[in-house]
Symmetry: C2
């Protein structure tokens, strides 16, 4: 058996499972999810044993203690996985929503309804709890999934998937055993092989660092939904409430700088730049933020001001720091801000602070990002904060889901046409 | 200048045009479309001259008379293009529709609104009227377009685009001149070069034969929405009104067999197969339909019946004939019908004829096609028949638009978030 043969078998099984999953009722999907939660908790000893094997491999591979910590399953984390499954069971069913309906003059009744995507491949890094999390969201949305976690988590991931499927099959007759599959090999060739199967795989969602995501996107023949990075901006307009602007900037940069929705670049309108920068930059530096500034900001802030500043390079403006580092630039107004964002941004989350509605509307219409804010922190781009109840990822793509992805974003749609014998003339 | 340099310039210009197009009002887009219609009619002499050059090239290339006919622009066709533009102007604006809205406990107001995709590349074959048609739908949906027609239509296509842009710029100040661009070279390398520009191009829609579409999909690094072919099915269930089933089958196969939504395979439930086939097959043959049948149908229809039948091969079941040819197969019931469709179909349009609602619901839930019919002909899968007012293509993909694509399907969405100073805690 070659890796491609293995992946063909996985893909074919998943396709068949997705066909059968489309017939499992919403109630039965929830019964399955609750049974899975119980099963994971009941098997905590077995899970910790499998995980101990992975931790051993991880130590041999020389993983850092931070990586080993992410890999570890303990009772708290197992309870967390189970709680996550119960939360997903409680969410509304995303399949079968009527998105549009129309009756044509010939009497045909046409409904556009949400439906499962089919077979979804999810590629992620080490944390094994993602296995339960991703599988539950796929199941709830009627999709069969093929999961590929980190090679160091293979024993944990396989057992989690097996326990989940066994619990579902016991409670729900006809539940397809291949609804949740873990790629059974750590072979690197498995990913391009799996992502060549356009006849079986409908979507791939890679989660992880930019390198992993670029490699997946580069090799994939199936559609990929992803975000590479979050280079988010706050633009403080000439008509901003500067006190509000200060609060938003501090929050967007400092509240949790490691996230993709944290601000990386602050853009300030020239006409209020002197006043605003004199106030905000010292506050940012109190939080330990290193500032990389354009020439104009450097001049405004002055030499010998005691501030730790250095000149920004062109590359800095496209960098996701994920840290207490940021860029600063003075612009002539909203149009220059939009052009800067369109040139250097990552189409993730960008905010304008202004009291001027016309300026805000112009910014919101012309910034081509997944989420565009007016007078709020970029940190809110998140499935939970958007009220989705669960999040499987964030997309900066424009075909398919955009922004935070919850259950609805794991569906596509189809057209159902109800007739009474209509033929076309 | 290499071809890649040329395409980089086109892509960059289109991206900039799309940013400016997002700020053109719905009213101004319609003013532009009406001015374009007038301009095409006013320039009919010039258009016919440019087209005569193309026809000359086409004759030198040895194009068939059918191909030359498709290439030709005459007064009727020019009036048709202008009428098409005026129809698009009259349609509702697809941008800015509020698809969802929610207010969060912290007071953030979140709107999911339809927005332009950005830069759309359309690749098509010889008919120059597609240039006006595709450009108008892209403009109305706020997208900049890059058009690549057949090499034999280059003079016609370039002039149509130039006339359209000039008319728009005259009437709408600030209309971006690069909103509609025609690839200025017939170089085959232009397509892979253009479709490598993920930083500028958001979507590619190829229209044409399966070979063209596969070649485009294979080389593209940007998302492609397409349909390869239409292998559509009608399944006549045991509980069908056989008189209705007969009418639907004849219509789906014979009314216009060259279309992608025509039936290629008839599936019949075993328990009514003898009766139904004895009636429908002679009727199909009166219409000149050649039937390729499975062993069971051949037995049922009998030797020496005078019918022109031959055994179907496995490959026949996946073939789009686009002609008075079809496959015929007896199945055990709805589940076998669904499995056949999922194995051999093209996820385009499939229909069940039955009076049994439970059977119909099972078919509609488990057939994973863009359009699934109950008691109607598959021939209705069409933007006009679905009430979209215009159609730019049909998609059998599941990420992005699915089924007939009108103006709404040329949009994506973004999230607008309205705050009054919210920060995340």
């Amino acid at each position: 058996m070659t890796v491609l043969d293995d992946m063909l078998r996985l893909g074919k099984q998943a396709k068949e499972a997705s066909r059968r999953l489309a017939l499992v009722s919403a109630a039965d999907k929830n019964v399955a999810l609750l049974a899975m939660a119980d099963a994971l908790e009941a098997a905590s000893t077995e899970l910790k044993e499998a995980n101990a094997l992975d931790l051993g491999v991880g130590r041999q591979l020389g993983l850092s203690s931070a990586m080993l910590d992410r890999l570890e399953l303990n009772d708290t984390r197992i309870a967390g996985m189970a709680a996550g499954l119960r939360e997903v069971a409680a969410l509304p069913d995303p399949v079968g929503r009527i998105l549009d309906r129309r009756t044509r003059p010939n009497g045909l009744r046409i409904e556009k309804i949400s439906s499962p995507i089919g077979v979804v491949v999810i590629i992620y890094e080490s944390r094994p709890n993602v296995t339960a999390d991703a599988a539950s969201l796929c199941l709830k949305s009627g999709n069969a999934c093929i999961l590929r976690g980190g090679k160091e988590a293979l024993n944990s991931n396989r057992l989690i998937a097996r326990l989940m499927v066994e619990a579902a099959v016991k409670q729900v007759p006809g539940f397809p055993v291949d609804a949740i599959q873990v790629v059974p090999t750590a072979d690197r060739e498995a990913i391009p092989a799996l992502l060549s199967l356009t006849q079986y795989v409908d979507l791939c969602m890679p989660r992880g660092g930019e390198g992993l995501i670029r490699a997946v996107t580069e090799c994939s023949k199936v559609p990929v939904i992803k975000h590479y990075k979050g280079v988010c901006h706050v633009f403080v307009d000439r008509d901003a409430d500067l006190e509000m602007a200060g609060r938003i900037v501090l929050n967007a940069k400092c509240q949790r700088p490691s996230t993709c929705n944290a601000m990386e670049t602050l853009l300030v309108d020239r006409s209020i730049a002197g006043r605003f920068l004199a106030s905000i930059v010292p506050q940012l530096q109190v939080h330990g933020v290193a500032v990389r500034a354009d020439d104009e900001s450097l001049r405004l802030l002055g030499q010998g001001s005691g501030l730790q500043l250095r000149a920004a390079t062109e590359a800095d403006y496209s960098t996701e720091y994920n840290d207490f580092v940021m860029n600063l630039k003075v612009v002539a107004g909203v149009e220059e801000a939009v052009i800067h964002i369109s040139t250097h941004g990552s189409a993730h989350s960008d905010s304008i602070v202004t009291r001027n509605e016309a300026t805000a509307r112009q910014f919101m219409a012309s910034v081509d990002s997944a989420a565009v804010y007016w007078n709020a922190s970029t940190r809110f781009t998140d499935g939970g904060e958007f009220g989705m109840g669960a999040e499987i990822g964030i997309s900066t793509d424009k075909i398919g889901a955009r922004g935070p992805m919850g259950l609805e974003e794991l569906t596509t749609y189809k057209w159902l046409v109800f007739g009474n014998g209509q033929i076309r003339s």
